[in-house]
């Protein structure tokens, strides 16, 4: 399932915000084709860790390797260019723009007329229409409709579809099923598994150990800015992992031999 060469390797990561020690010596590997659950309470450091990977925060010390190469500069644009996509509940789509415009935001296809780049509307509409059909949006929703019309699940579908369409290598899902109905949650979780099966690395952030245990290959638990557990879902049950979270701080490392 996984190969030996990690797609993302985090080594001894430390991050301070002033006096606040946000990440404490975190080391973790992520492989392509893997669905990893990143679990922990509020303030455990999950989102902070992800923001380092996405280039939003630069670490105080420690290293991040992407595909074997050391990351020297941390900037969101660079992370995106390397094929890293974050799917968050409240961020990623602009309500005032159409699905097609959102889909290509920041990477708009253009037709040049007299050297001036104009949006290639036909291409934007065709591609995004195909993707929203594939990812199960209502039939009466068109790519020209504003995102404002979409339900929470449909928004997630658009973002996930976009990640697939742009051939991303890493999809980070930050609490992707918050505020979703049961059926929509199932749909989003199916899409997460689908992404993994296409060979992407999926990092799935959640509070809910039981939900992620069903779909993840491995679960990483964080507590107070440190990694406290890193175990394959075959080696530990959801109940055992929950116990780790409850006790907080007892370091557990159980992984499949790779």
């Amino acid at each position: 399932m996984t190969n030996n060469h990690p797609l993302i390797q985090v080594k001894n990561l430390e991050l301070y915000f002033g006096a606040f020690h946000a990440l404490k010596n975190v080391s973790v590997d992520f492989h392509a084709g893997e669905l990893v659950g990143l679990v922990g309470d509020n303030g455990a450091g999950k989102t902070t860790l992800i923001r380092v990977l996405c280039g939003i925060y630069a670490p105080t010390s420690g290293e991040v390797y992407f595909d074997g190469r050391k990351v020297e500069k941390f900037h969101p644009k660079l992370a995106i260019d390397q094929g890293m996509e974050t799917i968050q509940q409240s961020v990623g789509l602009c309500d005032n723009l159409s699905i097609a415009r959102n889909f290509f935001l920041g990477r708009e296809p253009v037709k040049r007329i007299l050297g001036i780049p104009f949006l290639d509307f036909a291409k934007m509409r065709d591609k995004s229409t195909r993707v929203i059909r594939e990812f199960g949006l209502r039939d009466n929703v068109s790519a020209d409709d504003e995102v404002e019309r979409l339900s929470g699940g449909e928004r997630q579908s658009v973002k996930i579809g976009r990640a697939v369409e742009f051939k991303n290598r890493v999809v980070i899902m930050d609490e992707p099923t918050n505020h979703l109905s049961v059926r929509e949650r199932e749909h989003v979780n199916e899409l997460a598994v689908q992404l993994k099966e296409q060979g992407l690395l999926v990092i799935y952030i959640t509070h809910d150990i039981f939900q992620v245990h069903r779909i993840a290959d491995r679960v990483v638990i964080m507590e107070n800015g440190a990694k406290v557990a890193d175990a394959s879902t075959d080696s530990m049950t959801a109940e055992e992992l929950e116990e780790v979270i409850r006790q907080g701080g007892r370091v557990v490392e159980k992984r499949e031999a790779v």
Binding site: C94, L105, E108, I116, R149
Partner: protein, 318 residues
């Protein structure tokens, strides 16, 4: 129906129709005169430039209070520098000053993380102060040679049988509309105003977008100042005073939502037409000119309520 209403500046079109009907009924002979119409068209064109710039900034979810002072400063620079630099040289330098003021304010907003309301309020006073110091409170005029310079005539006289200012407004509106609705820059500007976080998560450099919006706004205000002075080449220290409020009113009447990401350049021009028309209709009616501001205020409030209801009816969350 909704498709039609969704079109740009629909609220402002209704406003213009209502206003013109009202003026026609109330004061047919005073309103529909060549003099009134010519004044209205000329000043709508001037305010239209400033309002379009303001609209771009509002769509990027910022505001620019300095446009009146920038308009004045650019005009003063254009006239005052002409004897040393010539018309072409002073035109370029004056526009350069406008762009630079926009750039400085944008840097303070973007890099300093300061509210644009405060930064540009500072800009308003600073630029106005420079006007006072620079002119020493005196009136400056163009020389006869400068008045007959091709550029002055090109920007200030009549072109193809219409006022030059309105010709340039149409050209600028066409270009800016293409820029806003059909280019990646426009898409990113609307996204920046709609949700800065989301835009940034897609790798959009919202800082650069905002800098560009502020610079465009200042340039448009500056160009409006130059157009005014090419038409009537005489500066005074109050040139452009209160214009920022008229421009913001025009943009808001024209359907720009201060929540960002939604608006219309055509609407901003129509908003300018409404603001300017009220001024000249009040003059035509012989009302004291001081009533003008009161009327603009009332129209502004009515327009905001109307535009918000319209937006809610369309299902936007505003």
């Amino acid at each position: 129906m909704k498709q039609l209403v969704r079109g740009q500046g629909f609220g402002a079109i209704i406003g213009v129709v209502v206003m013109l009907s009202a003026f026609t009924v109330v004061d047919f002979s005073g309103w529909w005169t060549a003099q009134t119409i010519s004044n209205v068209v000329q000043f709508t064109a001037i305010l239209g430039f400033v309002a379009m710039g303001q609209a771009l900034v509002i769509m990027a979810k910022e505001i620019d209070l300095s446009v009146g002072s920038v308009y004045g400063l650019t005009g003063v620079a254009f006239i005052t520098l002409e004897p040393t630099l010539g018309v072409t040289g002073s035109l370029i330098v004056a526009l350069g000053i406008a762009a630079f003021v926009g750039f400085l304010q944008a840097i303070a907003v973007v890099k300093g993380q300061l509210p644009s309301m405060i930064v540009t309020l500072g800009g308003l006073f600073t630029a106005r102060g420079i006007i006072y110091v620079w002119t020493g409170g005196s009136v400056h005029n163009f020389s006869a040679a400068a008045r007959s310079h091709p550029i002055t005539r090109f920007l200030g006289g009549e072109l193809f049988g219409i006022e030059a200012a309105i010709f340039w407004l149409i050209v600028a509106a066409a270009i800016l509309n293409l820029l806003l609705w059909t280019t990646p820059f426009g898409n990113r500007l609307l996204a920046t105003g709609g949700s800065k976080e989301s835009a940034e998560s897609r790798g959009v450099r919202t800082d650069r977008i905002k800098i560009a919006a502020f610079m465009l706004c200042s340039l448009l205000a500056g160009f409006a100042g130059i157009l005014t002075l090419c038409d009537r080449p005489q500066t005074h220290v109050t040139l452009g005073e209160l214009m920022e409020l008229e421009a913001i009113s025009a943009a808001v009447i024209g359907g720009c939502l201060l929540t960002g990401g939604r608006g219309s350049l055509i609407g901003a021009i129509l908003g300018a037409l409404i603001v300017v028309s009220f001024r000249y209709e009040l003059i035509a009616l012989g009302a004291p000119s001081s009533w003008f501001i009161t009327f603009v205020g009332i129209v502004l409030i009515v327009a905001v309520i109307f535009n918000q209801k319209l937006a809610r009816w369309l299902g936007h969350s505003v």
